[in-house]
């Protein structure tokens, strides 16, 4: 089998080291890339890759130029190894890098090499490798100089911590061995506040931005819980490599092959993996079992079909400080897989993205890659299942696509379509480059630390714009809620206005009411009522004989029913207007239910009640007034009822008493008479005062009724509990996080 080497683009990982040596490396992070070319197609790969690499093949220890392995066309070579953080001497363009690396270069270079040299040969027995790797001394020696050199005071203590956690394989280290620096504490507090703020913001109104905000908010909370907070608490915790990609891309096979053991089930059915499997060195198991990372997943020792579990397996071949997580696919029919994969990817220190020759142009994974890039996650790619004859073309094309999407810096490994060995593993020589790359990474704690810090910093940096988006969405919510309330207010204000108009122009008195009034006054019964009780008695006798209701009562009924009809009419109109106004608004439409199209069920009753209450009040008012005006009434056996009725009528007529046309013909005389009668009793000014008070009281009651109607809508927006606080909280919390991040300067640069 032939293998292709991997071309490793300058990777973010190696940012620290390689920047120095790679002037032409396009990548800002200044990373080295390595290319290994297959014997067959080594002719071209070089051009696409800007690779220069430090070739750290144990065979030839001295770092070599990238060109070298290619030219050699050694079928065995594949590797290239990234980097050693400390050792690369370099004048890098990145100031941060310079700071840390320039001083340290001389010393670490040698020390660093120690572990490398310890490796027996390019394809070592797994066991041998491991034994070599974790030697505490070697690791410590690497780290120490760095720590010593570290210019940033804030970071220093962490660096010091690192060797302990990483290097000590045997005991389960205490979760927080050393007091973290104050900046870390501040950042952790800021993150907790941010988490609370995100959790506190909800987006109850259906808006274009809300759905997105809910999703992003949930994923941010998940990321904070799953990754950011635990990672910040333990910057030295093992590096978690999440192996993600499309269904059928061979993720499980790859993980199995990397750890040389069938830890995750591979198969032909899609999707194969449904619950994630985490593989780490035995020494790191404790950390992953503790469950600080990805706390939502239940740890299980053996394979499980439940997607909410995390199977943790130890693999002796794997060096300490590095763990692989075999994630479910991102694009199969199983919806849960996609969500889980996204969650796991958000918790990755390094995302090993696996795609295939048939898949590399698929849209879904590229969307995720773009997301990961924006989030600053360190990415490495594996192009799997490549037909040997097409390797060059596909690799080049993929590289172009990567470059076009600003991902040119990510290391790319190409694996050919191959037959698996008896255990279902990819042959070691095929997977060698990738394997070695990880071995290097595992061995080099400063490189690991750089990866961790870069991803962490990127994730923290990406929080701010994401949270700004959430804050905007929260603002949108508040604005929308206000707009909705405004629409309701307008609808019911119109309704009230109609009532005011209806009362002001006195038209309510026309028609039937006016006719009855005429009857009432015209027959002289009113006068009789005023004069003595005998009149009343006679009315009663007449009504008893004729079966007709008393004129006075008749008039009252008409007035009541007209007022009630008016109120029902305006309330119905307002409900309709409010409904239509909300329906035109996406958030409003979602809050509506059919019953809101109509006024409330009890409206006729409450309108009825309103009018009767008002009449009661008016009667009381008249009674009060009449006691004062008794002198004017001159002892007439005066029926409060009739006067109260008259006052009610005056309410409508006094303000608009301009006799015109028909009014003159039909009712003017009687209206004048009524006016006169009342004036005679109460005095002109008193009548007007009474009328106004009665009118105002009626309008007040109507206003209350309409407010109650409007509340059916506004309580729906109020129930969402929206105010501007969440947006402000979010912005403040995000700013705090940003400040703390800048202060902590994880990647060594203050920006």
């Amino acid at each position: 089998m032939t293998t292709h080497g991997d071309a490793v683009g300058p990777s973010a990982i190696s940012a620290v080291d390689s920047a120095a040596q790679e002037p032409e490396g396009s990548d800002e992070k200044g990373l080295t890339s390595t290319v290994s070319a297959d014997a067959g197609d080594n002719s071209d790969p070089t051009e696409a890759v800007v690779s220069r690499q430090s070739h750290r093949d144990p065979e030839d220890e001295a770092p070599t130029e990238a060109a070298e392995p290619v030219a050699e066309s050694d079928p065995e070579t594949k590797i290239e190894l990234p980097d050693d953080v400390a050792e690369e001497p370099a004048a890098s363009e990145n100031p941060a890098v310079t700071e840390s690396s320039s001083d340290s270069e001389a010393v670490p270079e040698e020390t660093k090499r120690t572990p490398e040299e310890a490796k027996p040969d390019p394809e070592p027995e797994p066991t041998a490798e491991i034994e070599a790797d974790p030697e505490p001394e070697a690791v410590e020696s690497v780290v120490e100089p760095e720590a010593a050199v570290e210019p940033e005071a804030a970071v220093e203590p962490e660096a010091a911590v690192e060797p302990e956690a990483v290097a000590e394989p045997e005991p389960a280290p205490a979760p927080v061995p050393v007091e973290p620096p104050p900046a870390v504490g501040r950042l952790a507090t800021a993150l907790s506040n941010l988490r609370a703020a995100i959790g506190g913001a909800n987006y109850p109104l259906i808006m274009p931005s809300a759905e997105e905000a809910r999703r992003i908010g949930a994923s941010l909370v998940a990321q904070l819980d799953d990754y950011l907070l635990p990672r910040l608490a333990r910057l030295d915790a093992p590096l978690l490599v999440v192996v993600g990609g499309s269904t059928g891309a061979g993720k499980s096979t790859l993980v199995n092959s990397l750890v040389r053991a069938p830890v995750s089930t591979a198969g032909v059915l899609r999707p194969t993996t449904r619950s994630p499997v985490l593989v780490s060195n035995a020494s790191d198991l404790q950390w992953f079992r503790q469950g600080q990372l990805l706390p939502g997943l239940v740890r299980t020792p053996e394979s499980s079909a439940d997607p909410r579990t995390l199977q943790i397996v130890s693999a002796p071949v794997l060096g300490a400080g590095l763990a692989f997580l075999d994630a479910p696919d991102i694009d199969s029919v199983v919806e849960g897989n996609r969500k889980l994969a996204a969650q796991l990817l958000a918790a990755a220190d390094l995302w090993l993205f696996v795609t295939t020759a048939a898949r590399y142009a698929d849209n879904v994974p590229w969307e995720l890659l773009t997301t990961a890039r924006l989030r600053g996650t360190v990415i490495a790619l594996v192009l799997d299942r490549v037909p040997p004859e097409a390797a060059a073309e596909i690799t080049n094309h993929l590289r172009e696509m990567l470059a076009a999407r600003n991902l040119g810096a990510a290391p790319l490994f190409v694996l050919p379509e191959t037959t698996l060995d008896g255990q279902g593993l990819i042959a070691e020589d095929v997977i060698g480059p990738l394997h070695d790359w990880f071995k290097q990474l595992a061995a080099d704690s400063s490189a690991r630390s750089a990866v961790v810090r870069q991803t962490l910093d990127g994730a923290l940096g990406a929080l701010v714009p994401a949270v700004a988006g959430l804050a905007d969405a929260a603002d949108d919510q508040a604005v929308a809620a206000r707009a909705l309330d405004e629409r309701i207010t307008i609808a019911y204000r119109n309704a009230r206005q109609t009532v005011v108009e209806g009362l002001r122009d006195g038209r309510l008195l026309r028609g039937e009411v006016l006719a009855r009034w005429q009857e009432f006054v015209g027959t002289g019964e009113f006068m009789k009522t005023l004069e003595n009780r005998i009149g009343q008695l006679r009315d009663k006798v007449i009504s008893a004989v004729t079966g007709r209701p008393l004129p006075g009562r008749n008039l009252q009924t008409a007035l009541e029913s007209q007022l009630v009809t008016l109120l029902r009419g305006v309330a119905t109109d307002a409900a309709e207007q409010a409904y239509a106004a909300w329906q035109a608004h996406p958030a409003g439409a979602a809050l509506l239910e059919p019953s809101l199209q109509r006024p409330s069920e009890g409206l006729p009753q409450s309108a009825d009640r309103l009018v009767r209450d008002w009449q009661q009040w008016v009667l009381g008012l008249v009674r009060e007034q009449s006691s004062e005006k008794r002198v004017i009434a001159r002892g007439a056996a005066y029926a409060v009822n009739g006067a109260g009725l008259a006052v009610m009528i005056a309410v409508f007529t006094s303000t608009a008493f301009i006799p015109t046309g028909l009014e003159v013909a039909v009712g003017a005389g009687t209206t004048v008479a009524a006016q006169k009668v009342l004036e005679a009793i109460f005095g002109d000014q008193a009548i007007r005062g009474l009328a106004n008070r009665a009118r105002e009281d009626l309008l007040f009651r109507v206003g209350e009724l309409l407010d109650a109607e409007a509340a059916r809508y506004t309580e729906r927006t109020a129930a969402t509990g929206l105010d501007t606080a969440p947006a402000m909280d979010l912005r403040r919390a995000a700013a705090e996080v940003e400040d703390a991040r800048a202060e902590l300067a994880l990647t060594g640069s203050a920006t």
Binding site: G248, V268, S332, A358, R359, G502, G511
Partner: protein, 560 residues
């Protein structure tokens, strides 16, 4: 072999055959349905149906002897390889770069010409059309004559334009072969965005697991089983699932046979349209519910409406005026002539409303109905009208699906603005009996005059007698009736009889006035009811009518 195949194909599928005439009829019904509901229902819900009607019309007008079959699938599943393998020619470029195919390619078995129009319509560029007809082939390809095979671009790559192209083409082709491969057969986009959308098209869907040569025989079976399970979840359990490989010609035989059968059947286009009809008409059924009688607007609701309209039109006032007018005129005609003149000082109540005075109808302005002087409706009356109009719409909408509610409400209000004038016109045109003069009035009037005449005669006689006596002329001897002298009787009797008659007739006049009121009210209400029917109920009925017809049309569409 091909002939046998053809015969077998025809025989086996007779039960499932789709009659073109029947399909056309169903499509016409759909078109009718759309015409009926278009003015009333939201456009967004009808777009798919409109598209189908248009597309079906075009497709059926084009060659029905050709079957357009598309190869669709994810990028890298081997659509182009399969296309070339089926054509046995290298027509569509195959490659490892993804996505490979960017534009649809077509291969026509048989002469190009009639298929060309079809391809124009489908939208395959002329330079991407190929003919699979060659003398060298002999009869090998005869069985596939009439096949138009399309190689579509992918739908899941980063090239979004490909997906748009696929979505467009999938709407036009007759049959779709979904090409999946062992790596991608479980992709979400494939199942969710495509296969499950074709659940009503199982008859024109073939799913092939391509690149089966990459799997062992056992694995192939396992994967095929899993694929069938997924397809069942998509609702495509009836679709054939085949394993193919472009690299091993043997593995194509089954697919080829299926295609031959399809082509021989000439049914795919009809099946496709029938499937479309099924899926398009499915959501339409939610717009149609139980039957709604046209007279769904029941009497009670109309009565309530009439009541409200009558109140706002002042029917009560006019009826009262009619009664008043009756009394007024009765007094004028039958009152005691001596006091009759007093009544004339008051105007006729009907005239006060500008009613009852029939204008002289001249030939020029016969239609002009003068405006009455009735007051405009007040706020409460307007509210009452609004409420009852709503009630009409609500009552009509009750049995119908909710989507019709707004159409009915709008219809009920469509002529609301014209109502006041129409009501006034109806009132003005109604005969409220202002000109009616009962016969007995004349008799009584004559009698009254006779009484007056008698009284006058008696008075005159007495005066003459008195004068003669004053002049000491020989006394007149009044004839006596019993003890009383005749002139005195005449005078007193005339006066008393007149007054008595007036008084006696009062109840009669009152009764007549009540009758006149009642009659006027009846007439006015009839007029108002007509207005209510014409201006409120009729537009609502129109909608109900459209609903009933649409319901019928949809039943035809859904009949299978």
């Amino acid at each position: 072999m091909s002939l046998v195949e053809k015969v077998r194909g025809v025989l086996t599928s007779t039960d499932g055959r789709i009659d073109a005439q029947e399909l056309v009829q169903r499509l016409e019904s759909l078109s009718k349905f759309l015409r009926l509901v278009d003015p009333y229902l939201p456009d967004a819900d009808l777009v798919a149906a409109h598209t189908l009607v248009e597309r079906a019309g075009t497709r059926l007008a084009l060659s029905r002897d050709h079957t357009v079959v598309a190869l669709a699938g994810s990028t890298g599943s081997g659509k182009s390889s399969l296309f070339n393998a089926l054509a046995r020619l290298k027509l569509s470029p195959v490659g490892v770069r993804r996505p490979t195919t960017g534009a649809a390619h077509a291969c026509v078995w048989g002469p190009l010409e009639p298929a060309n129009q079809l391809l124009d319509w489908v939208g395959v560029l002329p330079r991407q059309r190929f003919i699979r007809e060659s003398a060298l082939d002999g009869d090998d390809e005869v069985a596939l004559r009439g096949l138009v095979l399309l190689d579509l671009p992918d739908f899941d790559s980063i090239e979004r334009s490909h997906r748009l192209e696929v979505d467009r083409l999938l709407g036009l082709v007759d049959e779709v072969i979904w090409v999946v491969d062992p790596q991608k057969y479980g992709d979400r986009i494939l199942h969710q965005a495509y296969l499950s959308q074709f659940s009503t098209h199982a008859g024109v869907t073939i799913v092939v697991l391509n690149q089966a040569d990459r799997l062992s025989t056992h694995d192939t079976e396992v994967v095929l089983g899993d694929l069938r399970r997924l397809l069942e979840e998509d609702g495509l359990s009836g679709a054939p699932v085949l394993a193919t490989s472009a690299k091993q010609p043997g593995m194509l035989a089954e697919l080829r046979e299926t295609l031959e059968k399809t082509v021989a059947d000439r049914q795919a286009a009809l099946r496709r349209l029938a499937g479309d009809l099924e899926s398009v008409s499915e959501p339409l059924t939610t717009m149609i519910g139980p039957p709604a009688a046209e007279d769904e607007v029941d009497r009670a609701t109309v009565r309530q409406l009439t009541e409200a309209l009558a109140a706002s039109a002042g029917v009560g006032a006019v009826a009262d005026a009619a009664a008043g007018s009756y009394r007024h005129r009765a007094a004028a005609a039958t009152g005691w002539p001596v006091l009759r003149g007093l009544g004339r000082l008051r105007p006729d109540p009907l005239r006060r409303l500008h009613l009852g005075a029939k204008p002289k109808t001249d030939s020029v302005s016969t239609d002009i109905v003068p405006r009455t002087s009735l007051p405009e409706a007040d706020a409460a009356q307007k509210s009452a009208i609004g409420l009852s109009v709503r009630a009409v719409a609500g009552r009509a909408a009750a049995p119908l699906p909710p989507v019709w509610a707004s159409a009915l409400t709008n219809a009920s209000r469509s002529r609301l603005g014209d109502l006041p004038d129409a009501l006034d016109r109806a009132i003005a045109k109604t005969d409220v009996g202002a000109d009616r003069t009962p016969l007995w009035w004349r008799g009584v009037g004559l009698l009254q005059w006779l009484f007056v005449a008698a009284a006058v005669a008696g008075l005159g006689w007495l005066i003459i007698g008195y004068g003669i006596r004053m002049l000491a002329l020989p006394e007149l001897h009044y004839p006596k009736l019993g003890q009383a002298p005749l002139p005195t009787l005449l005078l007193l009797g005339g006066l008393v009889a007149g007054v008595l008659l007036w008084l006696l007739l009062k109840p009669l006049v009152e009764w007549g006035a009540r009758r006149a009121r009642h009659r006027a009210e009846q007439q006015l209400r009839a007029g108002v009811t007509d207005v209510a029917r014409e201006y409120v109920v009729a537009p609502v009925r129109e909608v109900l009518n459209a609903y009933a017809q649409a319901r019928e049309a949809l039943t035809t569409v859904r009949s299978e």
